[in-house]
Structures are given as structure tokens and as C-alpha cells.
Symmetry: C2
Subunit: 346 residues, 2 copies
DNA sequence: CTGTTAGCGCTTTCAT
DNA sequence: ATGAAAGCGCTAACAG
């Protein structure tokens, strides 16, 4: 049995360059193959291959440890095609929604030795082409990019796309239809109110965004309530703008008694604005949001909202399955929304 | 001059597998070397090597495009040692601080073709060992991990570490001393107030955290004001807890006229609480935060805070320089804090 | 049980 | 100006 060679210069764990499998092999007096078996694939398993003696395995592991060996994942990837990595392309990282995605994926992937990495760039197309992870999640795709997705997935990339109305074309689609959910939100308010304002984005209104804006109009019409222009106001991405808009709606004599906000974060700003004005949320004014974020749930007062149930967990499940090589036909998964009635609107 | 071969099967941009440099070379009727030159290094440059004829280069590019070629970054990395990637290990992704780091790095790195990737895991040690990017940023290191950092950097990894009191040992250290800054915050309040409360974390108090907690005590002592236990309250990571704590401080007869919060996010919650109680922030009660986040700056009313100046940009500069191979000796960079006086405390 | 060997896709001398 | 060929670190057949 070969002993660990003891050349004085080379056993230092802290060296200049990086430690390779070859160096470890040499130090341990075995071949690179054995080292590879022990350090990556299984070693002691009685399977057909990979049978490395316990003793040898021990020695290799000791030497590797002492030398501070760490596998080069790029090299491994080039050989196996797997990177043990999931890429999450998230456009609005500040949004609690994104954090929820991350956390859910984290929880599922890490125990399996898969590392989720986040790409905080709106332009996923450039990066996803070359950087390839075992699976990638894309949270926003603009109209023209659909084709690109198909191209990517036919090149072997495993994609999971979040989109409201896209069809699975080589990639999975997570669809979370806000429309019906928003109807629930409006219905909830319509039970007790007829002076209902909406806090939304310019874009949603221009395009008559069927998902989040139309249910407001439809709801009023259905209830026979005329639409008032002065009960419609807008915000952009910043909380400050939502706060300001809510102020405009609430700080006047003929103020609405309820606000339907097309985003949880806008709803939260509206609550702050109402409180600033001395209004009791849930009593003087009701507020509902859309998205059912945990931030809204844990705020004071807790935010009534609509959202999909079990969404993040299921998303993570699918993504991780794909990363592990699940070869089922790409599918679309629809989520049903429900109303989560809390303090801000009973 | 060889024509682009026109075998019917293989010119399809959307194929089963991935397109390699070899396939492109074959299609274009040139060698892989030429393709590599054109597609990665410079092609037409009159430099000593890499001289590829304009015509050839054109053809290669066309073919590559048509076939949907994208370089395999793992393969490239194994050869060049560069991944054109920066890894950001951020523990509190929900914190605006992290977002600011991301944005700053993004802005500097992307124009240079470097992609920042985020690792949202507290345990950076495991990942950073194998996954190596051109440079990596670590925003939190626990006491025992210091040694590991040195080990990593002596293996050729370029690290930039954020820590208040660490010495550069093979890696750069970004030091942002909160202490002096917090003194500024207290001094600011002490000009007009003697009933000053503090909103802080249990941990900071227990360990008599010199940076953020002690300046409160020292400030009061220096001004000859006795410390009141009932003017000290605590929050944990959630905004809800900070809100609740602020409520406890403010919702009673002998309430403080100023709140020193050891975090911007806590300060923001305090402002919300004050408004909820009908108090005018900046008039009935002053609030200052620590960190000088842009969220605080853009909130209504804008938050007075202390923080380092030009911090994120400089951090990004250093990180990107390292990623590009800057070989200067590792150094420690200290940031000076200043007071940003805004509406919440004049 | 262990070693030899052939690549993965790419870059980079070194010839031609 | 272009191509042949040698590897980077690793894994996976295949021999022994």
C-alpha cells in the first residue's frame, strides 16, 4: 500500500494556486480517477463501478482536506453538463414577491446541494444564453421575447416562466390569473361600500389591463355604481408615489370609504396615508390589496388581499424538479386565487 | 474561398442540442481557431495575432448567428480562468442596503460585460469554495470565519469583505464605522431635545454594541441627561416589531420628543407609528435613523439619517477593479459618515 | 478494486 | 491570414 508521499513543499494547505484533482492524486499516491470517484460520485457503494476501498477513500479524503481541495465547478459542468445551480431572473428584487420566490426555492434546493443564484437584471436574455444553470426561472417576459424562450429551451435549457397568459412551448409556464382574484377583492368591498376608489398604475389603465383594472370597472357596473374619475388615481414603482396618490384620494371632504389597490405594496402605502390622516383603517376606510404578500399579512393592521394559494412552494417544486432532470412534457400550471380577509377590510 | 456548406439538416437555428464552436467552424468552412478569434477575442485588430480577414469574420459571424451559437461560459472559464462574473453574497436581501449594493455593482459591471450574480444564502463559505467568480463580495462574516477568508484568498479568489473592524489579510476590507456617525445623530437630537428614546435591537444592547448603542448612552451622559429605562425599546428583524416598539414608546402621557433608531427601517416604522398616533413628525416628535438608505430619503416625510457618503459607488468600483484583475495589495477602505438632515428631524 | 485514456468546449501557442 | 494541436480540470468508459 502506497504511503502518502511526504515531500515537504507540497503539503501546505495554503498555497499560491488552486488545488486540482491531479495534485491530490499524486499526493495520495493514487490515480485521478480514484480521487474523482471518492470526491464526487459515490465511493464505497457496491455498485458496478466506483468501488474504492474504504482505506483508500479515507486517505484520499484526508489528503484532499489537508491540501484544501475544492472541485472546480466549471470543469465539472463541462463534463457532466450539470452545474447544481438554479438561476432566478427577478426583475423587481425589491418586491416582496421576489423574496418569497427566493426563499421558497432556497428551501427546496439547498438540501439537495443545488445552489440558487439570482440575476437582478431585467435583461435575462443576454445572460441566459450562455450562463447555463440546470434550470432557470424568468419572472417577466415582454411580448417580443416569447420566441427567444422557445429557442433557448430547444437548445436544452430548462426554463420555467412566470406569465399570465403564455402557452408552454418547450418551457413550463406558471400562470397565476389575477383576474378572477381581483373580482373577489372588488366583491368583498362591494358588500359594504359604494364609494370605492382605485389605486393603480397608468399602464394598467391605458391598456385596460383585464387582470387588475377591469374588475374594478366591471364590479362597479355590475353593482350599478357610476364610475367617478376622481376616484381613480395612479402610482409608479416607488412607495412614495403610492403614498402621495392615496393622500390625494383620501384628503378631502367627499372621500371614498374604500380603496382597491392593484398591488399589496400600494395598499400598504395607502394604509400609511390613511393613518397619517387620522382615519381608522378597517373602520373609516377599508383597504384591499392584490398579491397577498407576507409583508401585507404581518403589517399593522394586517392587510386584506387576494392571491394564489401555495404558489411559491409549488413554483419551487417544479423548478427544482426540472433542475434535477425531470423530463416530463412542459406544462402550464394555473393557480387559483382566493381572498384573505384580514383587518384592513372585514 | 470556401463557401458556407449547405447541408440541409444542420443550418436550423433551433436544434436539439447546443451549438458548439466546432459546428460553426464546420459550417463556415474554417477552423475552430478562427471562430474563436472572431467570436471572443478581437478579430480584425492588426495586433500580432488574431488577424482574421474581414470577409471571413463576417461569414463566421453570420453562420454563428444563424445557428444560434452561444459560447459555453463554463468551458471558457476553464481555459481562461475568467468567468466575467461577480458574486455577491448578501445575507439580508430584503434590506435596502443590499439592493443599493446590487444596483451600484450592476451599474459599473454590466457595461464591461461582467454579470453580477447574487447569492442569497447566509452560508457563503460552502459556495464560494467551488463556485468561483472573478470577484466576490461578502457582506457578513462571523468571528470564526476569518481564517477561511484568508484561506480562500490565498487560493486565488478575489474577495472583498464588508466588516467594521477586520484587517485585510489577502482580501480587501470595506470598513464603514458606524460609531462616529451615530454620535452625529445623537448630537443632532441633543441640540433640541432632552427626552430622547432609543429604538434598537436586543443584541446591540446586550453586547453594548459600541457602534450604534453606546453613542446613545454616551450622548445622554455627556449632556447630563439621566438614562430612562422606559425610553429604551427593542425590535427584531420585522417592520411590525419596530412599529410595535415605537407605539409603546409614543403612546403614553410622558412620551419622548425624539427617537433615535439604530436602523433606517426601524426609523421608518417609527414615523408610521407616530403618524398613526396623530403626531406630526418633525414637529411633535423628531426621528433620526442610521444607514441613510434611499428609502428613507424618499419617504414622506423624508428621514433624517446618518451614513457613509459615496459608499456604494466606491464599493462597486473596488469590486469591479478586482474582477478585472487589479493586483494591488489588498487594502482596507474606511468610510466617513455624515449627517443627512431632512424633514423628520431638523 | 484501481489506473489509463478519451474527451467536454474552449482558447492559445506555434507552424504553415 | 489560417489551421493543427495541446491542453484547462474533471468525469466516465474501459482495461487490467
Amino acid at each position: 500500500m502506497p504511503k502518502e508521499s511526504t515531500s515537504p513543499m507540497s503539503t501546505n494547505p495554503v498555497q499560491g494556486g488552486k488545488v486540482t484533482i491531479k495534485q491530490v492524486a499524486q499526493q495520495a499516491g493514487v490515480s485521478t480517477a480514484s480521487v474523482s470517484y471518492v470526491l464526487s460520485g459515490r465511493s464505497g457503494a457496491t455498485g458496478r463501478n466506483g468501488g474504492v476501498a474504504q482505506e483508500t477513500a479515507q486517505r484520499i479524503r484526508r489528503v484532499a482536506e489537508r491540501m484544501g481541495y475544492a472541485p472546480d465547478l466549471a470543469a465539472r459542468k463541462i463534463r457532466t453538463g450539470r452545474s447544481d445551480t438554479i438561476l432566478l431572473s427577478l426583475t423587481m428584487l425589491s418586491d416582496p414577491w421576489s423574496l418569497a420566490v427566493i426563499e421558497a426555492v432556497q428551501r427546496r434546493a439547498m438540501p439537495l446541494g443545488i445552489t440558487p443564484m439570482i440575476l437582478a437584471d431585467a435583461d435575462w436574455s443576454r445572460v441566459l444564453k450562455s450562463h447555463d444553470a440546470d434550470a432557470m426561472f424568468v419572472d417577466a417576459v415582454s411580448p417580443g421575447q416569447e420566441e427567444l424562450l422557445t429557442a433557448l429551451s430547444s437548445q436544452g435549457k430548462r426554463l420555467v416562466v412566470f406569465h399570465e397568459e403564455m402557452q408552454p412551448k418547450g418551457f413550463d409556464v406558471i400562470r397565476s390569473l389575477a383576474g378572477p382574484g381581483c373580482v373577489l377583492a372588488m366583491d368583498h368591498l362591494l358588500r359594504n361600500h359604494h364609494k370605492i376608489a382605485i389605486l393603480t398604475t397608468e399602464r394598467a389603465r391605458e391598456r385596460h389591463d383585464s387582470a387588475r383594472f377591469m374588475p374594478y370597472l366591471d364590479g362597479l357596473v355590475k353593482a350599478g355604481i357610476p364610475v367617478r374619475e376622481d376616484y381613480i388615481d395612479f402610482f409608479d414603482r416607488s412607495p412614495a408615489s403610492a403614498y402621495a396618490a392615496a393622500m390625494r384620494l383620501l384628503d378631502r371632504p367627499d372621500r371614498p370609504t374604500a380603496i382597491y389597490a392593484t398591488t399589496d405594496f400600494a395598499a400598504m402605502s395607502a394604509i400609511n396615508a390613511a393613518q397619517r390622516l387620522g382615519l381608522r383603517v378597517g373602520v373609516d376606510v377599508d383597504v384591499v390589496g392584490v398579491g397577498n404578500t407576507s409583508e401585507g399579512e404581518s403589517m399593522v393592521p394586517s392587510l386584506t388581499s387576494v392571491g394564489p394559494e401555495g404558489f411559491f412552494d409549488e413554483l419551487a417544486r417544479i423548478l427544482v424538479a426540472r433542475a434535477q432532470g425531470d423530463e416530463q412534457d412542459p406544462r402550464a400550471v394555473d393557480f387559483h386565487w382566493k381572498l384573505f380577509s384580514r383587518e384592513s377590510a372585514r
